[in-house]
């Protein structure tokens, strides 16, 4: 591994033009890997890695959290959620707080845990908080199809599923941003392939490299971006060839659109993005928590000083937010970027707060 890294480093040197280069890693797991392995310490100082909106927990809107909290307040049901989601603050509470106060909330590893519980307990209503990008959405599709097959009437999902390419489009069109290259998410791309990113190099001249998650993968991908920049040949390249095929996983993609329809979606920090979300098709209405547990007015309030929006766009580094490490810490997160261990603020707080970089 060390040899591969050394080689990658030498190629980064080779292609480095010493001009400032902003590379956005779109995926939260990349953010974590970069921080956890201290990869910034291995990069030349002109290469600036910025963390994009690639943590699904971080971009879940307070509106959705508040809606889920309203549902469990007013209905007797058992809620299943992935781990990180339960700490995300809504306006007044979080799922974790509700769990401590006795609400029936289970942290699950897989959507099938929720489905299996619903099958075994037909008299108990089960709500699965379906969060995630294209990697996770097909899993929700499979359980919804199965719920239909079993003719369940006690299983519901609250979809906060989101699509990555529409958010990237918003970012590249934002005149304030100056992104010179994208490290594209490896596991999202395992599903959607490389084609959906092509508009970025083609229309905006920005290199895209789909990267794996080992330190060497990320370093090689950075070298690939620098190479594209040096020769002015922007394109979508796949570094993570072992799992990402250009066409992606067609069965998984089909599963997504068998069950879901594209819809507008609210992103925390980025606001509403047209066609960036997924809602259940009418055929599956009876499993849709939003239709079955409607709520009246939700007026989410957020701390106006929270800069998660600019952090998600890469306009600010976490320490540039006024609340960072002061009012907003992983114990008492204000914004979602601090909640998820994948969030850029949490990764900074945990691994880079003491300015160890480049020492």
């Amino acid at each position: 591994m060390i040899d591969t890294l050394q080689q990658a480093k030498s190629f980064i040197q080779k292609y480095n033009t010493h001009q400032p280069v902003n590379i956005m890693e779109v995926c939260g797991t990349h953010t974590m890997a970069i921080s956890r392995h201290g990869l910034r310490q291995l990069l030349p100082p002109n290469i600036n890695l910025i963390s994009g909106p690639g943590c699904p927990v971080c971009v879940t809107s307070a509106y959705d959290i508040d809606w889920i909290l309203e549902i469990i307040k007013n209905h007797e049901l058992k809620l299943f959620s992935f781990g990180d989601m339960i700490r995300v603050p809504g306006t007044e509470s979080s799922l974790l707080e509700q769990k401590s106060q006795g609400k029936d909330i289970t942290i699950c590893y897989s959507p099938t845990d929720a489905l299996n519980y619903a099958v075994k307990n037909p008299h108990k209503k089960v709500l699965f908080v379906a969060i995630g990008f294209e990697t996770t959405t097909p899993l929700s599709s499979v359980v919804i199809k199965r719920a239909a097959e079993y003719d369940l009437n006690n299983f519901f999902i609250f979809s906060t599923h989101k699509l990555v390419p529409p958010a990237l489009k918003l970012l590249v069109e934002d005149k304030q941003l100056n992104i010179n290259g994208f490290l594209c998410p490896g596991h999202v791309s395992a599903i959607i392939g490389s084609e959906p990113y092509n508009f970025i190099p083609e229309n905006y001249g920005i290199p895209c490299v789909i990267s794996g998650f080992e330190p060497a993968d990320i370093m090689i991908s950075i070298a690939m971006i620098l190479r594209q920049l040096k020769f002015n040949q922007p394109e979508t390249q796949i570094q993570y060839k072992s799992v990402v095929k250009p066409e992606g996983n067609l069965v998984a993609v089909k599963n997504i659109y068998d069950v879901f329809l594209k819809a507008d979606s609210r992103w925390r920090g980025l606001g509403p993005i047209a066609g960036s979300g997924l809602e259940l098709k009418p055929d599956y209405n009876r499993f849709d928590a939003k239709l079955n547990f409607p709520v009246k007015d939700i007026m989410p309030k957020q701390n106006p000083a929270c800069d998660c929006g600019n952090v998600l766009k890469g306009l600010k580094k976490p320490p540039e937010c006024k609340l960072f490490a002061k009012l907003c810490t992983p114990q008492n997160p204000v914004g979602p970027c601090m909640v998820s261990s994948e969030g850029s603020c949490a990764a900074y707080y945990r691994y880079e707060r003491f300015n160890l970089e480049r020492t």
Partner: protein, 342 residues
């Protein structure tokens, strides 16, 4: 963590009991606020009492593990090892243990027999007797099956003094084997994960190992039982109380493949996973090799390694040197270590 702030949480959450930052806040900002005194405030694994020319070590621990039977042990074995190991951090000879039992009505006697047999076997191995006890039975649902509390009293040999205060720059940090086995063996029992592995809890009484090292070296400075919160939490607490920085090296911290496998599946970090048979030892560099050799001769220390060293006084940071030659800070774990998919 002596900056005593107000405890602001309105309700107690599971994470207040996980040994991480929330636990530390509960203790420092609430419990010590009411009950603090010069002995308790030291927050060592065992309290030291000086009386009549003798120095006594006193400790207590409650056991609420679920499931009560797990690969490599059960709640009974755990309840002896936990207290024996807390006493062992002072290097004392155990005089006796107390044993309190709280059971839910309906608890099967055959399970109790199994737990008692394992308590007998473990206390025999550790060479310590149960000398006082208590039993309570509560209504169904008031506790989960069975809870056990044990306390332990020991006498410290003349002239021996192990304490966080003795840690100094240059000390080597030793641990007696791979980390995370206990926590992961418990977690992997959860049905919905459907893991199959050969991981067994490292639950073990370490008092004989400690006896062996203190008989070989007079330059052992401090010992700490790395239970809840895992190795990282112990290092951070020791750095904080001793006011020294610490440097540890990833490549020297052993993690079995299977523990790594389950951690990878669930997105957990073995540095924060509980152990029940791992002692973190701070030893003067001059004696590090002989201590290491002695530990490795004990059956609970065959895979012992020197994982790092104590840095200069004044900064309480713990730096992890990664296998790729970079450095990062370790931080207290905040909130439960949850299985996460993202």
């Amino acid at each position: 963590m002596n900056n005593r702030k107000k405890f602001e949480d309105q309700i107690i959450q599971l994470s207040h009991g996980d040994g991480g930052l929330k636990t530390s806040q509960l203790i420092n900002n609430l419990i010590l606020d009411y009950l603090g005194n010069s002995t308790l405030n030291k927050m060592e694994d065992s309290a030291i009492i000086e009386t009549g020319g003798s120095r006594l070590a006193f400790t207590t621990d409650s056991f609420v593990v679920n499931p009560i039977f797990f690969p490599g042990g059960d709640i009974g074995k755990l309840s002896i090892c936990g207290t024996v190991n807390d006493l062992a951090t002072t290097g004392c000879t155990a005089l006796g243990l107390s044993f309190s039992l709280i059971m839910e009505e309906g608890f099967p006697t055959k399970h109790l027999k199994k737990i008692l047999a394992s308590i007998k076997a473990t206390s025999l191995e550790a060479g310590v007797n149960i000398i006082t006890g208590d039993t309570k039975v509560v209504e169904k649902g008031s506790v989960d099956k069975i809870f056990i509390n044990t306390s332990g009293l020991g006498i410290i040999k003349h002239g021996l003094s192990l304490s966080t205060e003795k840690i100094k720059a240059g000390d080597k940090i030793i641990i007696n084997g791979p980390i995370g086995d206990h926590g992961i063996s418990i977690l992997s029992q959860r049905e919905e994960f459907n893991f199959k592995s050969n991981i067994i809890s490292d639950c073990a009484p370490l008092n004989s190992m400690v006896d062996e090292i203190i008989s070989r070296s007079r330059r052992i400075h401090a010992l700490r039982d790395a239970t809840r919160g895992g190795l990282a939490t112990v290092l951070l607490e020791m750095a904080d109380t001793s006011n020294h920085s610490m440097n540890v090296y990833s490549k020297n911290i052993k993690v079995t493949n299977e523990v790594k496998g389950i951690c990878d599946f669930l997105g957990l970090d073995p540095l924060y996973i509980a152990n029940e048979g791992k002692m973190v030892m701070f030893v003067d560099a001059r004696d590090a090799d002989i201590v290491l050799k002695t530990i490795r001769q004990n059956k609970y220390g065959q895979q012992a390694s020197i994982i790092g060293e104590v840095g200069p006084k004044g900064s309480c940071s713990v730096i992890l040197n990664t296998e790729i030659g970079t450095r990062r800070m370790l931080d207290m774990q905040y909130g439960e270590q949850l299985p996460r998919i993202c």
